[in-house]
Symmetry: C2
Subunit: 429 residues, 2 copies
């Protein structure tokens, strides 16, 4: 029997479907070779030999996936958020990212980022690096050691951006990316590369075309940004006048879900046509509510995307979002959906706690395969939540305790344990 | 020399006017008999005999005022926020508040609340209790011991609410309130009573009239709710068909700033007429951004109120707001103002960090007189912020560190000290 076979005991919450939360008080979560074998109110005979880790009255929930996060932006989180997207990129983001040409700086900054991501409530993440190959390779190496499961992208951008952050030309960008891919594909147990055009306006058509070819060559997933901000969308329209919508630019180069799994951050202003394209191609949306607030972007119509059957997960979008916490991200997702309902479209019901919990766990987790749930056959990512520091005079149900934890994780909650694919992540290291 | 004469040394930030943040690195904040004698980059000769408390590289900011908070709602913070105001009151709030008829329960619950408010970043608060006199008297006694400066209101409500939370009739309500006032006016050093009609729809005209008289008799401040939710406003229009706007109901009974200092929570939907009335009467608005999100109320047009010269402060509105943190409240105020700009009115510029910092400190603080700033003559409320746990690779200015703390107080920030009117509040007690 391998070490990653054991039983977690506690108050277990997880989702099978988006509207529904399953809870088992003082239940048994079976982990066999890193895979969940389900949740039981009474321990089944055949698992009685597995060691039980008893978390007593704590909550046990699936690990969460941060579907969109920029590692190099961690050093300036919580700063300079008085600007909209394009000005914010030029004033704050690009100057910071240009520092990662210095590997020594990158090592310092990425160690800080990975240490904090490790201690967060995310068990999986889809991560942007920068254009710099050595820095991005170090980021992968470092993330791999955390035990978290991650995709990491070396960013591509060759036009319309500052000199010190622009790849020389499309061919150089593609050569560097290919070399980086060859070095890193299959290298790590926990971390894999993902194709990463930063966003359409900073990519030449040759670059996009070449990335489409690399994608086919290596069969890798893709991440980028889509329809975040109104000025950005206008800019894309000017740069790619032949496109029918922003998403069509990626689609034209087969970077939009037809060849491989794709995640697009934001989609605040996707048109009906773009929504249809997202749906047809099964493209994931990484909903980043706090970033959309901070950069004055607006509110993504997530209810519409869910109704259309588009796969959706949640992202912190550090440092557009200031907080690394997926609990905060869930609360923000509920919050902005309420404002969307009130201020934009009263036909679109706000998201419920059950729904955002699904998005943070199984919704985003499915980008990694069978993760984010405790159903039989799922990789066993789990978080142990100690809510004894959130005082109350009330006796609460497990579901109420989960709801309260989502709102108050930072005011008395404590992450008491974390497992990714059956391996314990040591939080105090 | 009294014990409350000393000097705080550190990186000092405070506001004199709303657009401006004053910072002094490694400066000296003079406290003499509980009153600030200003901030100096070099220690003036005449204060050289005062003891210096050296907070080294930490930030020192004025204490903050939570201008609207419901003490009895603390036990269900973070719970049941899937409803709009009126349904939320009936489903969650009123049943909880009815429990405070039991003094034993009230003692347990209010101890929890006051302990946590004491440890929070608020040095002052304007607090709702319930209709229950013994419970509210205990709340005052308990708050007084914290050293925080607070106003506490015994709630009045005699119509249109559940039997177990309705005062028998207007006369009984007024008699009980008068008796409570007589017992509690001047009783405590730190805590005073405030007249508190819950909100117009649950008060009979006789009750409002009687409260107006009590107000005059005792010259006390007033707190209530105003124009939070669209259904609430319609309801008020039906109940008081003679009123020209919701605020006019309070104004009619001289409960709206003409006799004494008044604070109204929310003002999400104040009409031009109501705005004019708020302005003319110098009524304070307690802006509660998170509550307005959680209860799907909308976004208060704070920029318009500031432009009109109406005094504004911030409130957590616990438990409409889930978080007790005034840092979170500031960040939320910036956030919703960005969404208001984007989704409602692009003429109304978002609030800046400097502006919300002013609102949380001097803006709301002015409800208590000269508090919330370090200007000469202000009562010396101060917070010591240790941001060493918010790691970065950057060297930041004091202003940047303050901005970052506002966003990340709960992700690595630590409140390392707290003073109200020159008296240290012991956070570890």
């Amino acid at each position: 029997m391998r070490q990653d076979s054991f039983i977690l005991k506690g108050n277990i919450c997880y989702s099978k479907t988006i509207g529904h939360l399953s809870t088992t008080d003082h239940g048994y979560l079976i982990c066999h070779n890193g895979i969940s074998r389900g949740v039981y109110p009474v321990l089944p005979e055949k698992y009685q030999n597995l060691p039980i880790i008893d978390y007593h009255d704590m909550l046990i929930i699936p690990g969460m996936t941060d579907l969109h996060i920029h590692a190099p932006q961690y050093p300036f989180r919580g700063l300079g958020m008085d600007l909209e997207l394009l000005d914010w990129l030029n004033t704050h983001t690009f100057p910071e990212e240009s520092r990662y040409t210095d590997l020594e700086y990158a090592i310092k900054a990425y160690k800080l980022f990975t240490d904090n991501l490790k201690k967060s409530a995310s068990t999986r993440a889809v991560v942007f690096g920068t254009i710099h190959t050595p820095a991005t390779s170090f980021l992968m190496e470092q993330l791999n050691t955390t035990g978290l499961k991650t995709y990491v992208g070396k960013v591509n951008m060759d036009v319309n951006c500052p000199d010190n952050l622009r790849e020389k030309d499309a061919q150089t960008a593609l050569d560097n990316t290919d070399e980086w891919l060859q070095k890193n594909i299959g290298k790590y147990q926990n971390t894999s590369p993902i194709i990463t055009p930063r966003f359409a306006p900073v990519c030449s058509e040759s670059l996009l075309e070449g990335l489409g070819k690399l994608l086919k060559k290596y069969q890798l997933p893709v991440q980028s940004h889509l329809s975040e901000n109104l000025s950005e969308i206008e800019w894309v329209k000017k740069l790619f006048p032949w496109s029918s919508c922003y998403g069509d630019v990626y689609d034209h180069y087969e970077l939009f879900g037809t060849v491989s799994k794709t995640v697009m951050a934001h989609c605040v202003y996707s048109t009906d046509e773009e929504t249809e394209l997202l749906k047809e191609n099964g493209v994931y949306i990484a909903h980043c509510p706090q970033s959309n607030i901070n950069l004055s972007s607006g509110i993504a119509p997530i209810r519409s995307y869910l109704d259309a059957g588009i796969p959706v997960g949640l992202g912190t979008d550090m440092a557009g979002g200031a907080n690394l916490s997926m609990f905060r991200c869930m609360a923000d997702a509920v919050g902005v959906s309420k404002l969307y309902w009130r201020l934009v479209d009263q036909e679109k019901k706000p998201l419920t706690i059950e729904e955002v919990f699904y998005l943070a766990t199984k919704g985003g987790g499915s980008f990694f395969g069978n993760t984010g749930s405790f159903e039989d056959g799922y990789e066993m990512d789990a978080l142990i939540l100690d809510d004894s520091g959130i005082c109350s005079t009330r006796t609460l149900t497990t579901k109420e305790r989960l709801e309260r934890y989502i709102y108050l994780a930072d005011e008395g909650g404590k992450l008491a344990g974390k497992y990714t694919a059956g391996t314990e992540i040591l939080l105090s290291e």
